[in-house]
């Protein structure tokens, strides 16, 4: 699932390891999500969104909604 995790993380001046520790997941998990290699569960998506203070939709792009509809 395409996302803005890398962008938001860098905007907050965090390394992948620091973000991982902050949200209590492994660094590999952050790497996998950023690289669009793994779709996180809903709780993890909410956790990440809450950490950055944004809505889930602002962090993860809904692949089932067309760009025009958005």
């Amino acid at each position: 699932m395409k996302n803005r995790l890398r962008e938001l993380r860098k905007a907050h001046g965090l390394s992948q390891a620091e973000l991982a520790e902050a949200v209590e997941v492994s660094r590999q998990t952050i790497i996998a999500v950023e690289a669009d290699k793994y779709d996180p569960s809903l709780p993890m998506a909410y956790k990440l969104a809450a950490f950055f203070g944004v809505a889930v939709e602002a962090l993860f792009f809904n692949p089932f909604v067309s760009a025009e509809a958005e």
Binding site: V25, T29, Y38, P43, M44
Partner: protein, 134 residues
């Protein structure tokens, strides 16, 4: 004073699981060494089962601390890697010693145990996912 981080807690839990396995292996080995396998089946089997049950339970904190991505990795590796490894070992034994050798039969018995455990846990998982049907 050291700060406990997620990764350090995960490492501690993994270490506990690993240590529990080693301790269970050593104690179990001693039990088998000092007991009389076959003759004392109903003494040794529950004792070993309890011992390894405790060792498995010691892995629970580690399992619970894994995030869903890591857990998915372990589940995938366990299902596909575990099955592939088990089948390769069983088929190798059957090809090398014949299907009715003691080794092959022992390996096949293990496959039955794995399949039974799988079905039992899958049934439990299905039951836990149940909700109201409308």
């Amino acid at each position: 004073m050291s700060v406990e981080t997620y990764s350090s807690r995960l490492r501690s839990a993994a270490l506990l699981a690993l240590l529990a396995g080693v301790v269970a292996g050593v104690i179990g080995g001693q039990l088998i060494e000092r007991g009389k396998p076959g003759e004392q089946f109903w003494l040794l089997f529950p004792a070993l089962l309890g011992l390894w049950g405790l060792a498995l339970a010691a892995g629970l904190p580690w399992w619970r601390r894994l995030d869903d991505v890591q857990r998915a990795g372990h589940l995938t590796a366990c299902y596909w890697g575990g099955q592939a490894g088990m089948l390769a070992a069983v088929l190798g034994l059957v090809a090398a010693t014949g299907p009715r050798s003691e080794l092959s039969l022992g390996a096949l018995f293990t496959v039955v145990g794995v399949a039974a455990g799988y079905l039992l846990f899958y049934a439990g998982w299905r039951l836990r996912q149940r909700g109201p049907e409308e």
